[in-house]
Symmetry: C2
Subunit: 420 residues, 2 copies
């Protein structure tokens, strides 16, 4: 059995690799035509898709999946339309492949530059939501990569059906269907085989909870883009505009508390604490936020509970906020260095020098001045789309768009140059 | 014993990580002053250095190291001067840290861009030449990174002495000495501990033979920049300038045959074969090159021996050249895809369309038109220096200079923007 899983997974990965050269060479018009066909296919075959999705829903109910999980699994007409719309947005993005950068003439007359090229084969490992199948595949195809998708076993019929529609659109546009594959093996060991397929897959992107990502990173022989967690901070400086700071804190905590770029800890300069903390606490409490504070916070804000050491490193993903009064911006940056997750931190200040120093010295995938942490998102930052957020620094740091699914090769144009 | 090695290695790596924030924040003037101190220190303490090197040389002779290995190990006044000169060249390079890229205004007024930042802690694993200690450390310091160096055990006294001089220069310039460390543990297990220190080291760069690199890549829990081998090709197209092609082939094969960017296989369009092959063969034979050819080559070039299948994938690093006549440029590109190593390939042609297609479609860290493969080198391509060449695509592809030792974070300047 084990051998069969290995053989089947390897066959899919090998086919993806074989398709990589053709998809890498394809021009933008052909890739866009295939993407348009994918969108049309999803819309046109939505009844069939919903039928396949029903099999997953029934199996999920029988297995006793939670209502929340069942909801994430469900495909409705609106959700299928959203997937199709998402693909059409990718069509509108500029094709990163073939861009030439830094072309310069060397002293010997050789023209040297770099050309943007696809990475090759991307492996995506994700959990229940079937829309990831279409979203991720569209970004990989647009950036000239093959993709091997391994979704949750509970979504296998939905994912396989979506992939079939995408593959048909590739074939209809003279591109290899194998540039998009869903692993049909729901056996857990299929992931292990995929993570060992270093001859076929160039990069693994896991999308899901911290547990999934750690387990993938531990086992993989292939480079992995990691996104652990988002313990995001806002530091309210002594001379912040307090009204602005309140608005930013409420947005960062309340607008969507269950996501990785929501604020989890608020740091307040001691000179601002007395004026600002009661103001922000009143507003946050109005929105149902539970506050857990340092002793000084608890003194100034009666409704705050005392925070424990554990609160400082916690990603609540909920309407809970840790609050700490700090003696200086340096103390705030030390706190972030110690408890942060390299995800997103913001300063609220009117002082230019401190704003610039915070931006320079804070080690995070996005550092903001006077703006909400909720902007750490590929769409919001202008990438057009994102395939994930990296919180480690190798290859990509922060939201990954189409460019982050590419690399560059050196190119050189000469007229007979030799090395002396 | 094993525990002791683990504790000692971890202590060095932890200290490097602790030093990383200070070296990352240091401005260019301070880093350059430390680098100048390193160069001065190497020159001023050359007698002491040679004394420490003598210990390695004596141990090496006693251990029966080959004359070639002993020569690589030897430090002379000239070689010490070269190390110091190399550091001074790094001073002259622009500091990549702090560069702001792609700063653009979003529709909501948020200014979003990227800022170049150091990676953190770089681990270098290398073989006998002690100059790597100084060269690699200078590039890491200039790019704001801490570095942990693990050289060959046969060079331990030399490497430790060089590192001491570099550390003294850091301290003298109010930078943490621990930003540069040489692992003093010569125990083989020290490498394993280093490769598992993922909490402290961000990137591993192995420098040495394919065996070292494969073993490091296999064991490492930390991302590794890989450079396997260079099976570099020149394709002489049907309408190449034959004199230019001869000059390029001789340079690529003969100028320094023992390096990774030397040509190993020559591909010749069948329409050029009769005119070109005898010409180039005569010249290469004059330079002592042994030719191993396909049947058509052997027919046209009497001195060529028949090539075996194995010859096509071999990195000779010697005055031997595999030669194959191909029916078309597509056949040449198929050959490269099958036997190449993603290192360096060149086309010699006067045809613009074919030159551009070769550049676009050949998957290699450097693709050249009408120039020698020997240009795949950080200095030659204008990076100023190189810490190695990557033949895989994640994070860097091709020669790695200062920029490739950095990444970018997103930065955003707002005036109260919140997410709707």
């Amino acid at each position: 059995m084990r051998t069969t899983v290995k053989d089947s997974v390897d066959a899919v990965c090998r086919a993806a690799k074989a398709a990589a050269a053709a998809i890498a060479r394809a021009d933008s018009a052909r890739k866009n035509a295939a993407l348009a066909g994918m969108a049309t296919g999803l819309r046109g075959r939505s009844d069939w898709l919903k039928g396949e999705n029903r099999k997953d829903m029934e199996a999920g109910k029988a297995k006793g999946l939670s209502p929340a999980m069942l909801d994430r699994l469900l495909l409705t007409d609106a959700r299928i339309r959203q997937m199709a719309d998402g693909i059409e947005e990718v069509i509108a993005l500029p094709d990163p492949v073939g861009e030439v950068l830094k072309m310069r003439r060397r002293p010997n007359g050789l023209m040297v530059g770099r050309m943007r090229i696809p990475l090759g084969v991307i492996g995506i490992i994700y959990e229940s939501r079937p829309n990831v199948t279409a979203d991720a595949a569209a970004l990989c195809v647009k950036s000239g990569n093959s993709v091997v998708l391994r979704g949750g076993s509970e979504a296998i019929h939905s994912n396989t059906a979506i992939a079939q529609i995408l593959r048909d659109a590739l074939s209809a546009n003279a591109l290899p269907a194998d540039a998009v594959s869903v692993l049909s093996m729901t056996d857990r060991s299929a992931i292990d085989v995929m993570l060992a397929a270093e001859d076929f897959i160039d990069l693994i992107i896991p999308r899901g909870g911290e547990g999934l990502i750690r387990s993938v990173a531990e086992k993989s022989r292939i480079p992995v883009i990691k996104h652990y967690k988002g313990v995001c901070h806002i530091f309210v400086d002594e001379d912040a505009d307090f009204r602005q700071a309140v608005s930013l804190c409420v947005n960062a905590k309340v607008q969507r508390p269950g996501v990785c770029n929501a604020m989890e800890t608020l740091l307040v300069h001691e000179k601002a604490a007395q004026g600002f903390l009661p103001m922000v606490a009143a507003e946050l409490t109005k929105h149902g936020v539970e506050l857990r504070g340092c002793p000084e916070t608890v003194r100034l804000v009666p409704q705050a509970k005392p925070a424990t050491e554990e609160d400082w490193g916690t990603e609540y993903l909920d309407l809970i906020l840790a609050v700490r009064v700090v003696g200086s911006m340096d103390a705030a940056m030390d706190h972030i260095r110690r408890y942060g997750s390299l995800h997103t931190e913001a300063i609220v200040t009117r002082d230019h020098a401190r704003a610039m120093r915070f931006v320079r010295e804070v080690d995070s995938s996005l550092v903001l001045v006077n703006a909400s942490t909720r902007f750490n998102d590929g769409f919001q930052l202008g990438l057009g789309a994102e395939i994930g957020i990296s919180t480690t620094k190798i290859h990509a740091f922060g939201p990954m768009g189409l460019e982050e699914l590419t690399t560059t090769k050196f190119i050189a144009f000469g007229d007979g140059q030799v090395r002396e």
